[in-house]
Amino acid sequence: MASLITCPHCGVRPKEEFAIRGDASLLRPAPTASDEAWHDYVYVRANPRGRTLEHWQHVGGCRRFLVVERDTFTHEVHSVTDGAAFARENGR
């Protein structure tokens, strides 16, 4: 796993300061969506080999939610963005 994360607010930090809060690429379905869509959103996860988007919370620092793009195979960290900025950029 990636061992150093560059938090946009706190700088380079060890991974022990963070809590991984799951897949960040999922989009919440509409409240009226089918049970299948909600089941997929809540329970079904892929286990990808390669680039993933994840929510990491910096619990030992600024306590902000970050979106970390990392590679599960090479352990490379491609980008770290603040969760709010990521949501704005992606129109969520």
């Binding site: 022990e16 600024c62 902000r64």
Partner: protein, 184 residues
């Protein structure tokens, strides 16, 4: 039994007895200082940061975007609250933390080596300059770490973790003959 926690410092029990004369590496425990948390209202982050850093009456410690710890040596907790209200009321939420946080001041030539045993941050002056501050873990305890001088650091920890952090720091500094006492 009724205990008056308000008038009792969290480290009274640890620092009981005659203090050793301070050695080169010394841990001073602050008391009688006022600490407050300032939380900027939505959209006011930059204005509040500018206002807070415009005065020299207190020190401002960064903890998160739009959130700071304000430390004052001279003010009472109420005085600091009034001062902050006057400075930037209606832009910021102020929460008094004077009794909730304990201040540790570590100074001496080996401070960086001592802190390296518990803090996973690069503390070289080029990476963590004088005046910088950040939240970090010291061991497993969340602290706010600030560099107040070339060889001087200040740690602000929650009161309930103060005894553990004190023990940790003394263990970390044992090899460098770290001494501890309440600040004068």
């Amino acid at each position: 039994m009724i205990r008056d926690y308000y008038n009792r410092h969290a480290l009274d029990e640890k620092l009981r007895g005659a203090p050793r004369p301070p050695s080169a590496n010394h841990l001073a425990i602050g008391h009688r200082q006022a600490v407050a948390m300032a939380l900027a209202m939505a959209g006011e982050e930059e204005a509040v940061e500018k206002l807070l850093s415009s005065t020299t009456e207190f020190a401002v410690r960064f903890s998160a975007p739009g959130e700071w710890l304000v430390v004052s040596e001279n003010d009472t907790p109420e005085g600091l609250q009034r001062r902050l209200d006057a400075l930037c009321s209606a832009r910021v939420y102020i929460v008094d933390q004077s009794e909730a946080r304990v201040l540790f001041r570590l100074s001496g030539p080996s401070t960086r080596r001592i802190l390296a045993k518990g803090i996973g941050l690069d503390l070289h002056p080029t990476a963590f300059a004088v005046g910088t501050s950040a939240n970090a873990f010291c061991g497993h305890i969340a602290v706010n770490l600030a560099r107040t001088g070339e060889d001087a650091f200040e740690l602000i920890a929650p009161r309930s973790f103060a005894e553990s952090l004190f023990d940790d720091l003394m263990t970390m500094g044992r090899e460098y003959d770290l001494t501890a006492a309440f600040a004068a």
